[in-house]
């Protein structure tokens, strides 16, 4: 009887076991962490094409790498026109591990933008953006713009020649906005020219405003993914028998959550075969993310991140 098992309280499952198991049972009763883990790990995903679906998790892994390396860069970086360049020049010349972290942050950013492009291309080619998944695409596109915003503001912060002129040109773009263009440019710059306030405002955008929006939207993006399920690609919806209608009906009846997807053509409501996310998909995800991070690890050390001459407003 299944019901008898459900009547056992989590804390009773730990009775008579070792202290670790009892401690876990105590914690589990109060947090429901096991249920949460099961919900997170045992989600059905299409069986075929798993390697193509690793790009989303790789994107997330790289964003977390940016968060991590970015937090560490704050150990040294000073957002001031007097000291920004000096603080980074100190890293490049005196603190090899700091220069390495800076290398991780730059190569992580390059790789992230590349992987987002591939992720979007995969989604486009497999038509995963179709009803009811349009907002997955829209939120993904917004996420891409936020990442581009982070890349642009990040390029300004070293306050070297490259950063200074990037700042000048990008803040100037705003003034072509009809009507309020001048005001917008002045808001970002903090005045008529690029100066100290421009740097502190750009810094605020880069480390708090854009990341906050990014992580909020990542939450929405992942919620939508879990709600509709991974679409995969058309290969996951092929029928084999002489009676495709019957086969599809069977498939829908036996589908595991989150399938069948509502508001979609029956043929694409549930994949023909699914596997659990754990450990099948997570293994592939891990392989791809590890490979990408290994490349960033090596490139960050060998090539690092360039630092131009200090900013000079004379052209």
């Amino acid at each position: 009887m299944k019901t008898s098992e459900q009547l056992v309280l989590p804390v009773e499952r730990g009775r008579g076991r070792g202290p670790l198991k009892r401690g876990y049972a105590w914690f589990d009763e109060r947090t429901g962490v096991t249920e949460l883990l099961h919900k997170g790990l045992y989600e059905a995903v299409p069986e075929q094409g798993g390697w193509a679906y690793t790009l989303g998790s790789a994107t997330l892994a790289l964003i977390l790498l940016q968060l991590f390396s970015g937090i560490f860069l704050l150990l040294d970086y000073v957002p001031s026109v007097e000291e920004a360049w000096k603080s980074l020049n100190f890293l490049e010349t005196q603190d090899p591990f700091g220069a390495w972290v800076r290398g991780l942050h730059l190569w992580g950013a390059y790789t992230l933008i590349l992987v987002i492009g591939l992720h979007a291309l995969r989604t486009f080619v497999s038509a995963s953006y179709k009803r009811p998944r349009e907002l997955n695409w829209v939120s993904g596109a917004l996420l891409f713009f936020l990442v581009l915003g982070l890349a642009a503001t990040g390029a300004m912060l070293p306050w070297d020649q490259a950063g200074y002129w990037t700042t000048t040109v990008i803040t100037n773009i705003l003034h072509y906005f009809p009507g309020i263009g001048d005001a917008l440019r002045q808001l970002w710059r903090g005045g008529q020219f690029v100066g100290p306030i421009t740097l502190t405002r750009t810094f605020a955008l880069h480390v708090w405003v854009l990341p906050f929006l990014l992580f909020s939207l990542i939450g929405a993006h992942l919620y939508l993914l879990r709600r509709h399920g991974e679409f995969g690609a058309w290969v996951n919806y092929d029928t084999e028998s002489d009676n495709p209608d019957k086969e599809i009906a069977q498939r829908i009846v036996h589908a595991e959550p989150p399938y069948p997807t509502k508001r979609i053509e029956r043929r694409y409501a549930a994949p023909n075969k699914t596997v659990d996310f754990f450990p099948n998909q997570i293994f592939k995800d891990t392989v791809v993310s590890v490979a990408l991070i290994a490349v960033i690890f090596v490139f960050g050390l060998t090539f690092g991140a360039p630092l131009d001459a200090a900013a000079d407003p004379r052209p």
């Binding site: 991590f68 560490f72 000096k86 100190f90 603190d95 099948n280 891990t286 991070i293 690890f297 960050g300």
Partner: protein, 168 residues
């Protein structure tokens, strides 16, 4: 040894991969975090001035701009050096810091007490820097110092390094 199933291989492979990521991101980050422990300090000598005219047995606070020993070039910090002449010999000087050995508050020479007094917790030091009352566990630290002779004026010039002679 039990047979390794495909499932176990994937689980262990994932765990191993995540551990590899942990190692790869930790090496640069920890090296960066811990760099102050193995970075060379930047030590320099700065001149405090001639000591010949400083009264004997009268701790005299002088303000000296002391260069920072860390990071990129930044403005020097004004700090106090208590110059104490102990005898007629101009080389017989102490270059006491005003950093209390208890909690590193600023001590000052109290003329009435004839002792250095720390305002935070009432620590007391004798004229030679010995801790004589209150919580301080050690004497006042001295700046690393030396006396040089000015070739023109023949005066005895006190120079200090941007370092204390011991950890407090």
């Amino acid at each position: 040894m039990s047979r390794l199933t495909r499932r176990q291989l994937m689980i262990r492979g994932s765990g191993l991969g995540m551990a590899a990521v942990g190692v790869m991101v930790s090496i640069p980050a920890l090296g960066f975090l811990l760099s102050p422990l193995f970075t060379q300090r930047r030590t320099t000598w700065v001149s405090v001035g001639p000591v010949d005219n400083i009264p004997i047995a009268q701790p005299t606070p002088l303000t000296v701009s002391i260069p920072n020993d860390q990071g990129w070039p930044t403005p020097a910090q004004p700090r106090i050096v208590y110059v104490v002449r102990r005898s007629d010999d101009p080389e017989d000087v102490l270059a006491l810091s005003n950093i209390c050995s208890h909690m590193q508050c600023d001590v000052h020479w109290d003329q009435q007490l004839g002792q250095f007094l720390c305002p935070c917790h009432g620590g007391l030091y004798a004229m030679n820097g010995d801790n004589v009352g209150g919580p301080p566990p050690q004497p006042l630290p001295q700046w690393v110092h030396r006396i040089t002779i000015d070739p023109q004026t023949k005066l005895h010039v006190l120079e200090i390094q941007n370092s204390l002679n011991e950890n407090v």
